[in-house]
């Protein structure tokens, strides 16, 4: 394979697979999305003018591939989050890894928090999941997320806020309460 193509794959395949895996919630579909993304990218590479970042362009292709995959597989409705879905659940707390002593205790807590977070994100309806993953996990700017998902900036901000509140509530449901 051409060395520059090889470098491109090497640099981005981890992030694209990770994004697809969280979006599709299936390792098999994530593998297919990864292939479709690089196939479409190399076919359209001459159209890439460098106005967008390479990562933004690849995420846009991957997000479209995830949407197509969702339509092909078990249909997951793109429901809207109601205000009841995101109103703060009363009480509850989310421990910080820094609250635990160093060593095995902190490692166990970190693992539990990450597992609860992954499960909470997986519960989000896909349009909100995509925004949260791109903005808060992949670290894209609000403007880049808007470009990837073909949304307005205010729409990205609104979806992100609802997604965060939903995940926060889901985390509190999953995690044990404060010690009494």
């Amino acid at each position: 394979m051409d060395p520059s193509a090889d470098r491109l794959i090497e640099e981005y395949q981890g992030r694209i697979y990770s994004f697809a895996s969280r979006m599709c919630r299936s390792a098999e579909d994530a593998r297919d999305v990864l292939q479709e993304t690089f196939l479409a990218a190399f076919r359209g590479l001459q159209d890439f003018r460098g106005e967008a970042k390479m990562s933004t362009w690849l995420f846009r292709i991957a997000a479209n591939a995830c949407r197509k995959m969702r339509r092909r597989r078990t249909y997951e409705p793109a429901r809207l989050l109601s205000i009841e879905d995101v109103l703060p659940a009363p009480g509850g707390q989310i421990l910080d890894v820094a609250d635990a002593a160093e060593g095995p205790e902190a490692a166990t807590l970190r693992h539990e928090l990450q597992a609860a977070l992954e499960a909470s994100i997986a519960e989000l309806p896909p349009p909100y999941r995509a925004v949260l993953i791109l903005r808060d996990i992949e670290g894209l700017s609000t403007e880049e997320v808007a470009e990837v998902l073909a949304l307005s900036v205010p729409n990205v901000k609104s979806r992100l806020h609802r997604a965060r509140l939903f995940v926060r509530n889901a985390m509190i449901r999953r995690l044990p309460g404060p010690p009494s």
């Binding site: 394979m1 989310i94 996990i137």
Partner: protein, 92 residues
């Protein structure tokens, strides 16, 4: 948030403003004056204080979540698919 969830009464105006702007507050996208108002309100309103803390931790956890590991089989499959599409017969 002092009135939210207590017998169906309307949330206080300050609580609602904080609830609506909290992500922008955490992302540092609000003017300094409004940030100060939110901080002042949260300092005196335990439910809002808890909401700010738990949402901040949720976002912080997202930002440190590691990538899902890329299986070796998926890594090999993407290269095989590209070779097959762009260099047919190269593997033969």
């Amino acid at each position: 948030m002092d009135e939210r969830g207590s017998g169906g009464r309307t949330p206080g105006v300050e609580c609602r403003a904080l609830f609506e702007r909290l992500s922008e507050f955490l992302d540092g996208e609000l003017p300094a004056g409004l940030c100060h108002e939110i901080e002042r309100h949260a300092a005196g309103c335990p439910p809002c204080h808890a909401l700010v803390q738990t949402l901040r931790r949720t976002v912080g956890l997202c930002r440190t979540l590691p990538d899902r590991p890329l299986p070796e089989e998926a890594r090999a499959a993407v290269r095989a698919r590209l070779r097959e599409s762009f260099l047919p017969g190269a593997d033969r």
